[in-house]
């Protein structure tokens, strides 16, 4: 009689363990944004001139397959955020935005790519407010893992 609970326990456990998983290894790695190459632009504390077009350059890597990326330039006149980088840049005094530069765009990456050299042309209108800005790079892989890079830049 006393063995009954034990036997039942073992049965229950055998039942549970029989449902073992057979799935292949799943991807749990984040993609990587690399801006250490000499021609990467912008990098932390870069400056960009109004009325000109610059070329964004960075290299992306993933263990399985890259997804897509987005770029976003928004003002930091209120010093609301810092960057993901270790070194800090000199900032102007806090000020109110009048006509700040706003740029948001997303970009595709060719299917199946594990590494990708990203380039994009971005034009800075001549009439935007100069000052401190943030340059955000958001990179996903196919599974939806995302890596962020927030850079402090200046528009002159």
């Amino acid at each position: 009689m006393k063995k009954i609970p034990f036997l039942l326990g073992v049965l229950a456990l055998a039942f549970i363990s029989s449902c073992s998983s057979d799935n292949a290894a799943i991807d749990t790695e984040y993609p990587v944004i690399d801006i250490t190459a000499a021609n990467s632009f912008p990098i932390q504390c870069s400056t960009i001139e109004r009325g000109k077009t610059f070329t964004f350059k960075a290299s992306f890597n993933d263990n399985v397959e890259l997804g897509s990326y987005s770029l976003d330039i928004h003002h930091n006149f209120d010093h609301h955020t810092h960057s993901t980088e270790v070194n800090t840049c000199e900032t102007d005094a806090v000020k109110k935005p009048l006509n700040p530069m706003l740029f948001i765009n997303n970009y595709t990456i060719p299917k199946g790519a594990k590494s990708y050299e990203a380039t994009a042309q971005i034009t800075i209108p001549a009439d935007v407010d100069p000052g401190d800005y943030h340059f955000m790079i958001r990179l996903t892989d196919k599974e939806g893992w995302q890596t962020l890079k927030g850079l402090s830049i200046k528009i002159l």
């Binding site: 326990g9 998983s21 749990t28 976003d72 810092h82 948001i104 599974e143 939806g144 890079k149 927030g150």
Partner: protein, 735 residues
């Protein structure tokens, strides 16, 4: 690697099973353990009633009372119940949490208070349960699908907060509860007053709580890649306040009982200031760190009002019960205006919403239910119906979900057959109808839209006028077999859940996690099939309980992280979109207690859960917020002394395994070892017993992460050492 971990846990369970079976053989010192008798607010409830319920219920039910809550007092109700295996929480800071039963939460677990389904904004990760834990006397937790009783949403389980027992006849009295906590410098108090003559009674309560920022054992945290320094270990701006009022009053006679419940729960609590908005933010450190008790932006204010009446009466063989209820949940989230997407950089003066009101949700719920219980020979039959209508308005300058109205109605029949003292059979069927009507919404600002190389400015539409209707038939069947010390149960049941407005039509930014969330209007009602088994052995000096389950969802609703970004409202943030996938889950809880002496006992409580998506974009991945396996080892010493009553000293060690089973955007969580001690006693003064409880949570100030915390994604560690002192001083005024 994953298989190795799986095997490890399998053997852990087997080992514990073996240990217990060896105890069966070795135990030979039976000691008299009297049935537990608990005084509940002047009414004596025999511990046997709970045992009886367990033996006659085919679903797995855990029942705890207010003294359990007092001994394990956490920052909120669910945090106080976390010691139960299979019950975890998603905690939002130190004062709020939501239930996580066997890995399911949000709208998959329902909370019932005084018979009324609690309706707040439970879909939100930042939403805590609006329940005053001082007002809770008895809680039943159903770990399994309970849709056949409660209708839509009770897929994962139910937390049923029972009505307070009525005061005894011709009594007048009350109690004062005082609580202090070191970690967040909390001071709480609750004042209770009750009275009753022959048939008329009232029971009232006023609770206040005031706490500061909670402290963590680290001085820097990494919010995604952004490092944030903390001042004196304080998690900036996590202070809060709470003010609650309860009143129940009515008539209790031999044939008729009618009770009115009225409660209002109000909380104001801050969010960690560095992680709210579109990206991790710098804050005015001087302003924020000046005081650890002020609540600055971002913060939330929630008010939950409930009014209901429950009337029961007997007519012949029939016991009827009706309930009418009204609830109003009003939640506001305040944060500095941050223009995102193409919102103007300066907040317009003529806007419909105040400048810092980021979100506002206003929910009104009317409900009616009726049931009839009667017996025919060995059949105990319950038939019932419920009808619920709700209206949801939105406000604030940001958009996440549309305004909507919803209507649900259900009809059920439940039959419990007592074949003999040992065998019980259960069968239940239920039909539900639900319809949800969402309202369209347009942005209040223009965004540039490019078409055929022409760029135009447009007010973008965020949501459509959309009406969805769902029907569902659910069933449940179970059996109990209770030969002597052994209790066996099995239950097979189906459950369903109607998709909610957030899942069907969300289209905005989640400011806590910096992501863009998108609904899917084509979702079906979620279905679930679950097999529950239960085995319990009760003897003089030891007890053992094992509750395994297997669960399958053909169409689990899941917020899937995609590789896309939203370039309008989402300001370049990652898009998360609702999808449905097949999900297979299984797990078990194990509890055992052994009495070495009448006053000395040891307990082990373990839980294991495995979830896997079997189809869809995240095939092979687990579900979000999957609690890792954990084992709690406890030692209890309860000396019998003359002067002091119910003294106890307990020492707990909780080992939580690492969680490597993750799904984007989660992170792997390392294992943790946390120690707690608790002691308390009751001092007899006149007719009443003053109870004093003392606890140290996280004894060694261990820095660890909780995989299921709201703040896990942004890498915030759990609270450091916390010393909790609470005291309950009852009084009675005899007539």
């Amino acid at each position: 690697m994953k298989n190795a971990q799986f095997l490890y846990w399998k053997y852990c369970f087997l080992l514990v099973g073996l240990l217990i079976s060896s105890e069966v053989v070795s135990q030979n010192k039976p000691s008299e353990k009297k049935p537990e008798i608990k005084e509940l607010n002047e009414v004596i409830v025999n511990g046997n009633a709970v045992e009886k319920r367990k033996k006659e219920e085919s679903l797995n039910v855990e029942t705890v009372n207010s003294s359990f809550i007092q001994r394990n007092l956490g920052g909120s109700l669910m945090q106080s119940l976390q010691k139960l295996p299979g019950v975890k929480t998603i905690s939002i800071g130190s004062g709020g949490s939501k239930p996580l039963i066997r890995g399911l939460s949000f709208n998959q677990v329902i909370v019932v208070e005084n018979g009324l389904k609690h309706e707040g904004q439970q879909w939100g990760a930042d939403h805590g349960l609006e329940i005053d834990q001082y007002a809770v006397n008895r809680v039943e937790i159903i770990k399994g699908p309970s849709s056949f009783i409660y209708g839509s949403d009770a897929v994962g389980g139910a937390v049923n907060i029972k009505p307070l027992p009525l005061p005894s006849k011709n009594s007048f009295g009350g109690s004062v509860d005082l609580t202090g906590k070191s970690n967040n410098a909390l001071f709480g108090s609750s004042f209770n007053l009750y009275g009753r003559n022959e048939n008329w009674f009232f029971d009232s309560r006023l609770t206040t709580m005031d706490y500061g920022d909670y402290r963590v054992p680290t001085d820097v945290v990494h919010v995604y890649s952004y490092s944030v320094p903390l001042y004196k270990n304080h998690l900036r701006n996590t202070a809060g306040r709470e003010l609650d009022f309860h009143l129940s009053t009515g008539y209790s006679g031999e044939k008729l009982k009618s009770v009115f419940y009225f409660s209002n729960v109000h909380t104001k609590s801050g969010f960690f200031a560095n992680a709210h908005g579109l990206e991790p933010r710098n804050v005015d450190i001087e302003l924020h760190d000046e005081s650890s008790r002020d609540i600055l932006m971002p913060y939330q204010q929630v008010n939950h009002l409930k009014v209901s009446n429950t009337t029961s009466f007997n007519l012949g063989n029939h016991a009827f019960e009706t309930q009418i209820g009204f609830q109003k949940n009003f939640r506001r989230e305040w944060s500095h205006y941050v223009n995102h997407g193409y919102m103007p950089p300066i907040y317009p003066d003529d806007m419909y919403a105040p400048k810092d009101l980021e979100r506002q949700y206003d929910k009104d719920v009317w409900s009616f239910s009726a049931k009839d219980e009667f017996a025919i020979n060995r059949h105990k039959i319950t038939i019932g119906t419920n009808v619920v209508g709700q209206e949801n308005a939105i406000g604030g300058w940001s958009f996440l979900i549309p305004a909507f109205t919803q209507f649900n109605a259900g009809l059920f029949a439940y039959n419990k057959i007592e074949l003999n003292e040992k065998w019980f059979l259960h069968g239940a069927v239920r039909y539900d109808y639900g319809t949800i009507k969402m309202k369209s919404y347009y942005d209040w600002f223009e965004s540039p839209v490019s078409e055929n190389n022409q760029t135009q400015l447009e007010y973008l539409q965020r949501s459509d006028d959309l009406t969805k209707t769902f029907n569902s038939f659910t069933w449940s069947a179970g059996v109990n077999y209770n030969p002597g010390n052994l209790t066996l149960k099995a239950n097979l049941g189906s459950s369903f859940r109607m998709p909610i407005a957030k899942e069907l039509a969300s289209n905005g930014v989640n400011y806590h996690y910096f992501r863009f969330e998108k609904g899917n209007p084509n979702l079906d009602a979620e279905r679930s099939y679950q097999l529950d088994l239960g085995m319990e052995w009760q003897q003089h000096n030891w007890s053992f309980q094992l509750t395994p389950f297997v669960n399958y969802f053909p169409n689990f609703i899941y917020l899937n992280p995609t590789s896309a970004h939203d370039i309008y409202y989402g300001a370049g943030n990652q898009v998360f979109e609702y999808e449905q996938s097949k999900v297979f889950r299984y797990g078990a809880e194990l509890q055992t207690r052994y009495y070495f002496l009448k006053s000395l006992s040891a307990e082990i409580a373990a839980e294991y859960l495995y979830s896997e998506q079997k189809s869809g974009s995240k095939k092979g991945y687990t579900l979000p917020f999957s609690p890792p396996p954990s084992v709690l080892f406890g030692l209890n010493y309860e000396p019998q002394t003359g002067f002091l009553k119910d003294s106890y000293f307990s020492f707990d060690y909780r080992f939580t395994a690492e969680q490597n089973n993750i799904v984007p955007p989660e992170k792997k969580t390392a294992e943790s070892h946390v120690f707690n001690i608790a002691l308390g006693t009751k001092i007899k003064t006149g007719k009443e017993n003053i109870s004093i409880n003392f606890q140290i949570q996280n004894l060694f100030n261990t820095k660890y992460l909780n995989h299921t915390s709201f703040y896990r994604l942004i890498e915030l560690p759990e609270a450091g050492r916390n010393i909790i002192v609470s005291m309950k001083i009852p009084f009675s005024i005899s007539r």
